[in-house]
């Protein structure tokens, strides 16, 4: 095998790995996104068959139901996204804490990071504001 053939083969392998890896990562990110910030379910491979009614009143009702469903999904996704954002921030702060300790941060610095993490948990996960809120819902 000549050198140029070897170079060509190596380039092809690198190209295939890059494209394949990119596509693989994109699929992985898409699935992770669906699971973490989506509605918690994997996307359907075959889309559900939609039957649109032809009768005017039924069509109106169908459209209203579709709108309500879309809004419910949007609300659900927004609620899930908020939890995922808090998780990412807390994970980043934990990693920061770990790395800063390797660098040589003071005890006071570590305590401040822990306080910030605690405040985030108390506010976003434990909903401390509801104890004093005027509203009575969950």
């Amino acid at each position: 095998m000549t050198t140029s053939t070897m170079y060509a083969l190596a380039a092809a392998v690198v190209l295939i790995l890059t494209v394949g890896g990119g596509v693989g990562l994109a699929v992985l990110f898409r699935l992770t996104n669906q699971l973490v910030v989506g509605d918690g379910r994997l996307p359907r491979v075959v889309p559900e068959r939609v039957v649109v009614p032809t009768e005017p009143m039924a069509l109106l009702r169908w459209r209203r139901e579709q709108d309500e469903e879309r809004m419910a999904v949007a609300r659900r996704v927004a609620a899930y996204r908020s939890g995922a954002t808090v998780l990412v921030v807390l994970a980043a702060l934990t990693a920061f804490e770990y790395v800063m300790n390797l660098v040589g941060i003071s005890v006071f610095g570590l305590f401040v990071i822990a306080l910030v993490k605690a405040a985030i948990i108390v506010h976003y996960f434990m909903h401390v504001a509801t104890v004093f809120a005027a509203g009575d819902g969950h």
Partner: protein, 190 residues
């Protein structure tokens, strides 16, 4: 006032009282954990025993993730997504058990024993008390999961789920302070 409106009003009052009661309980619990933290700083000073750093980081990550799944379970119930609610509760139990295994199997079977003076006493005292709370949280979640499976909770009325979620986040909150106190702060000594 109709019967339904009256019942709803009673639930609202009960909810407010329950929340206040739970937070007062947390306040009393915080004295216990603060006492353990003060003991750590009094007895260990600016030192700490040599612990498995990777294990500490991993169990912290697992507990953090379990807090997320618990939050997701609660959110799912509010959004009437019952399947995600039940699945996320089970996932939280699994992650909580993994955290326990990380602490009990790897940390407790390390080179430090409870009888190893101040280091052993404080390490086992802090992790043991926290582990006890994790176990009670797991039992609590399993009870809530069973109730949820039977359809006891609704998106409007689910104090049991809310209390369980807040309890689990409290367990995570305590670890937020325990992790740096045990694994990061001070000079490691053999």
């Amino acid at each position: 006032m109709s019967g339904a409106a009256s019942a709803h009003g009673e639930y609202r009052v009960a909810l407010r009282n329950n929340r206040l009661g739970l937070w007062l309980f947390f306040l009393s619990e915080s004295f216990l954990f603060s006492g353990l933290l003060v003991t750590r700083f009094y007895l260990w000073g600016n030192t700490r025993p040599e612990l498995n750093q990777l294990n500490g980081l991993l169990v912290t990550g697992v507990l953090l993730l379990s807090s997320f799944t618990m939050n997701r379970a609660e959110t799912a119930l509010v959004q009437n997504d019952r399947k995600t609610f039940l699945n996320c509760l089970l996932l939280t139990v699994a992650l909580g058990t993994l955290f326990l295994a990380g602490v009990v199997v790897f940390e407790w079977s390390g080179h430090i024993r409870p009888s190893d003076g101040a280091y052993g006493a404080v390490l086992f005292g802090m992790t043991g008390m926290h582990a006890l709370h994790v176990v009670s949280g797991i039992v609590f979640i399993l009870i809530v999961w069973n109730n949820g499976r039977r359809g006891i909770y609704s998106s409007e009325q689910h104090w049991g789920v809310e209390a369980c979620a807040i309890w689990w986040h409290y367990v995570d909150l305590v670890w937020v302070f325990f992790y740096p106190a045990l694994y990061l702060m001070g000079q490691a000594v053999q």
